[in-house]
């Protein structure tokens, strides 16, 4: 039972690592692109937004499943 909680914690941490790397890459790319072409800032932000939200959704899903692991182990 303790191992399940550990797994939930580990999974949460891994999801956060992945999401952090992804958001970091996106932000770096956007900042670089805006630095090169400040006039296109609005378009670049628009292009970055959608993948950012999709990425965030995946991370949130991982968190939900980690929470589910914890709750199910508490119940059973």
């Amino acid at each position: 039972m303790g191992i399940a909680f550990m797994g939930a914690g580990l999974g949460l941490g891994l999801a956060v690592i992945g999401a952090g790397l992804g958001i970091g890459k996106l932000a770096a790319g956007a900042a670089e692109a805006i630095g090169r072409q400040p006039s296109a800032a609005a378009q670049i932000t628009g292009a970055v937004n959608l993948p950012l939200f999709l990425l965030e959704g995946v991370a949130i899903l991982a968190e939900v499943f980690a929470l589910l692991i914890v709750l199910m182990n508490k119940a059973g």
Binding site: L50, F53, L54, E56, G57, I60, L61, E63, V64, K74
Partner: protein, 311 residues
Amino acid sequence: MLQPEIQHAVQTAPEKFNPSETIIGHVANSGHDHPLIHLPTWMGIDFSVTKHVLMLWLVAAFLFVAITWLVRRYVRQDADRLVPSGTMNALEAIVEFVRDSIALPNVGKKWVRTWTPLLLTFFVFILASNVIGLIPIFDVLALLQHTVLHLPEDAFLVRVIHGGTTATGNYNVTAALATITFFVVIIAGSKAHGFVKHWLNLAPGGLAWPLYIILIPIEIMGMFVRPFALTMRLAANMTGGHLALLAILSFVFIFAELFGHAAAGVGVGLVLSVPLSVGISALEIIVVLVQAYVFTLLTAVFIGMAIHAHH
């Protein structure tokens, strides 16, 4: 029913603070055995009003009354000088934002007037129920109850007190919203290309036939995964913020119990919990706006994908 001696033991035992139970109790919907208003079961569905349902109704009623009142007042002005003022300006800003930066780039010029009303409804409703979840009206009521009012246990107000959570933090609510998106995408595709052509558009044409064996199941799965992701994203974001806030505030009681002294709890609260929870609340204000925007934007993107199928 508990045995009498167990019940006695439960009542006399010093109350131990259980953080997970407290947090889940705050975030989760009220159970079917303790609804706020009892309604009869009809066709196997229990229509009793739980706290999330109450919040939904409150939000819907608030939006209906507020927006109808605003627009009526605006339209009643002289026809030759229709100048918006005050709150109407804010409403127009929202409408323009949804039309010009969510609907127009994704749906395209031809279909803006068809799909903006729906996207606007999504945006305003989700935003309002997110924001109302952030305001601790019902917790203030609970404080009043404990200090001033002292109403009996079964009064309606007392049962309402532990409500006041975010309605959009409930997976059933967001699933319903995502179901609307699911059907709207099909309707949008059918309106633009005809019913049969919409389904043919899902997979690109002119490929070698073995590819379709893989492609068609993937496209069908994608159809269902998108609303599922919408459901999870909104509900988990709304629940997550509350969970984090409550967990951080629980430190006060955990530390007080750990050291057996209230001063330890108050110290942790002053140094760590309260500043941190203020910061998270500020973050939540951004999250609330962004999530309403994301749900609307993704719906617009999916509608746009159905309309502009380049296959």
